[in-house]
Each structure stands twice: as structure tokens, then as C-alpha cells.
Symmetry: C2
């Protein structure tokens, strides 16, 4: 069988996340149904990450096996034609090695979190960012973000429900930057714990508000205590930006 990789962009607003589930719309199910119609087979896809309800993807990678003889590069336009472009667009497809798995054959991921920091809400940003009305000290947030970089036990930056064997992860970079009234937090790591970027974001916003001091960050991370970190930022500001393929 051929192994096909597809890259997607999706707006997660209308989905209960990537993963297929009963009685709720998922990106996976939309894509599997469309690929099944295209190939005439029952297609199961493997995704690079299990994004939560409301989380978006600027670049999502999946793969699936098929006996179809459709040229590999035609799967992306064929898939896009079957989907609502307001929700999911397939931007690229190619044939890959039989061993390739979108879940395992990656060397890390990069997420970006968008905060709308303004005195006024903006309807165009509500589904695509976290609205934070308080004045945030960006310089303190930048200082604090650097403590996340490196290899640490991120036990305190994980929601309950994760089932991983170790909570040690390596954050390659954690950057805070501002464009107009939007603040971005961009994090690249070898792998992520459940809700990790959203808890890092919530913690950095607490730093920006003065609720947590940047100089305490090292202690907070080392403590491994969830309650010392900040709140979990809401899902609609989070975007999977890049899957770093091996």
C-alpha cells in the first residue's frame, strides 16, 4: 500500500478537536470521510497531534495508507474540494516512505498562542485569540519566558489526564513578541504535555499582570506544583504552527 502525507490548515472553532469521537464533530472524521469518498476505501488517518476543541492548526500533518492510484500530489486539491474551505484546507500531499508516521516520525512541534491585549474587544479576534484587557508588562513576560527554555521536568505545566511515562521535555525556544495590540507566545519543543502551551501562556500572562514575578519562574518550574503556575489559557488562541519532520 502507498503511504500518503497530507498537510492541512484548519480553523478549529467549529470542531471538538482533532480526534474522532461519538456525537461531536472532529477534524479527523471530516478528513477520513472525505478521503474515503475520494478513494472508495475506508480510510483511517494518523495525525501529528491531538489538538483540543477550539484549537487551530496553521500546519497539521497526517498520513494514511491507500491502494488508490491517484497521483500523490492530487490528494490535497481533491480533499480540499470535498471540505468546507472556511474550516479545512489541504495545502500539500506527497507519497512518503512506508514507515513514516505523522504521530511518531517527527522531531518536535512548534505552537503559537495569540493574545488580544486591548481595552476593547474585537469580534474578528474573539474566536482566534484570548482577550486580555489588563495592561501587560511585555518585558517581564519576555524575561520569564526564557526560564522555560531547556530540558526541565514540566510536571507543574500539565493538565491532569496526561498518560505519559515522563514529564521531562525540552523546550527549544519560548519567545514572546508583540504586533500592535496582539501578543504572541511561540514555543517549540521535542514534545508537549497535555495543555502545556496553554498553561505556559496563562503563567506568562500572570507574570505580565504582576501576579507572578519573573524571578520566581525557576522555582515555580522546579517545584512541579500545578497550583504555582498560572491559569490554563483558553483554547481559541492556540495554533499548531509547525510539525518538524525527521
Amino acid at each position: 500500500m502507498r503511504n500518503i502525507l497530507i498537510e492541512l490548515i484548519y480553523d478549529g472553532s467549529g470542531f471538538h478537536g482533532w480526534q474522532k469521537q461519538n456525537n461531536a464533530r472532529s477534524v479527523q472524521e471530516e478528513v477520513e470521510n472525505a478521503l474515503s469518498r475520494i478513494t472508495g476505501e475506508t480510510v483511517s488517518v494518523t495525525g501529528s497531534s491531538r489538538t483540543d476543541a477550539g484549537v487551530h492548526a496553521l500546519s497539521y500533518i497526517l498520513n494514511f495508507y491507500t491502494n488508490s492510484e491517484i497521483p500523490a500530489e492530487k490528494f490535497a486539491p481533491a480533499l480540499s474540494a470535498q471540505l468546507n474551505p472556511q474550516e479545512i484546507v489541504a495545502v500539500r500531499s506527497e507519497e512518503v516512505d512506508g514507515e513514516f508516521s505523522a504521530r511518531f516520525s517527527n522531531d518536535g512541534k512548534r505552537y503559537v498562542y495569540k493574545i488580544h491585549n486591548s481595552r476593547q474587544r474585537n469580534p474578528f479576534l474573539e474566536k482566534y485569540s484570548w482577550y486580555v484587557p489588563y495592561v501587560l508588562d511585555i518585558e517581564e513576560m519576555k524575561k520569564a519566558s526564557k526560564f522555560f527554555e531547556g530540558t526541565h521536568d514540566f510536571k507543574g505545566f500539565m493538565a491532569v489526564g496526561g498518560s505519559q511515562q515522563t514529564t521531562v521535555r525540552t523546550i527549544r525556544c519560548c519567545e514572546v513578541y508583540q504586533e500592535g495590540d496582539e501578543i504572541f507566545i511561540e514555543v517549540e519543543a521535542d514534545a508537549f504535555l497535555y495543555n502545556m502551551v496553554r498553561i505556559i501562556t496563562g503563567t506568562l500572562v500572570y507574570v505580565g499582570c504582576g501576579k507572578i514575578s519573573a524571578s520566581d519562574m525557576s522555582d515555580i518550574i522546579q517545584s512541579g506544583e500545578r497550583e504555582r503556575a498560572g491559569m490554563t489559557a483558553p483554547p481559541q488562541g492556540l495554533y499548531l504552527k509547525k510539525v518538524i519532520l525527521k
Copy 2:
């Protein structure tokens, strides 16, 4: 009675336009219902323009009369609290002269039209721009846009159904500019005919594709023939950007 002005931002995606109508959601109805709850009166509002289904507003002005003693500046936050911030946000309210009418007391309006010009669709832009996959010649579009400026009879740039006495309008500026893969067409005029900005946009896109030559623009405008202009661009790329108050 007091006369209160309110400025709104709204995402028109979920509405059948500004104007109240039977069996369809309108911005006007949402706002009137909310203001009626706030004041305990039956509120009728006057809007600055009758935006079509799917058209957005970055700054919309309305006014209404009330006996309520709520301080004028409190109406905006009170109204926002009653509305879904993903759709409508009230950004400002103030008491104005009894004679003021959002419909008549303005000296023109500015619209901006957003085109997404790329080989790839983007789900985040689908409801907020017109997707044009063809390569567009921006320099030709800029040249052509200048012919719209000034006082002309814009009979050829109007959808049937307008009920105005004259089709002469003065366009103060018509600018085409690009930011990444987005092209903006910004038009300010003393007043607009029905679908005028959308037909100007469709015509400029035809110029960008080479279907219409910039050097024919003067003739096309003077002819007054709708069929010589371009298509009517779809509503979701259009934004009311500013109402110029007298």
C-alpha cells in the same frame, strides 16, 4: 428625550445585513432588542448605512432616542455585555445633539475591501475576504483606481434596486495596496450607490487579470453601462471602515 450615539464593530458573517427583516437575523434587531432590555423602553435605532448580508463593519454609527437616565458613556459597555462579543462589540457611546441622525448627519463614508490573493485558500480568511487565485497586476489596478476619483455619474457601478434620485457621486480617494498576500481596495466617497464598492472591486480585479485595460476605465465609467464594468465582488470581503461625521 436624549439622543445617544453608539459606535459598533461587527462581524457580518452570521447576519442578513444591518436592516431588520422578517425571519432573518439582522444587526439592527440584535442591537434594538439589547437596548430595549437595557432601557426598559421599545428602542428604534437609526443606522449610518444598510450593509448587506455578510458585510462587516470596523466602525458603524447608530443613534437612538431614550428617556433613560443611564450616563451616555455607559451605554456602550452595557450593550456589549448583552451581545455575543464574537459578533458585535459596542466601542463608544455619547450623548449628541437632538438633531443628529446617523443616517443623515454624515459627510461621507469609507469602505475597505479585502482580497486574498494566493495560490492557496486559507480557512481563516474565507469569511473575511474574497479569495482570488489568479495572479493580479497590482500596478495596473492602482492605475485604474485613479479613474474612479472625482465626481462622476456612477450609473454603471450600481446594482439594480437602488432608489436614488441621482447616480452622481464624488469619490474622494480610491486606493489599492498590498500587504503580504492580501490586497486592499479602500474607497471614500460622499455617498455610495447600491453595491458600488463591490462593483468597483470586481472591475479592479478584472483589470488585475487583464480582462479590462486600465486605459479603458475612463470610457467604461462614462458609458454608464453596467455590463462594461466587472463582476460584483462577494460581500464577505467588504468592511465599512469609517463614517465621517459632520
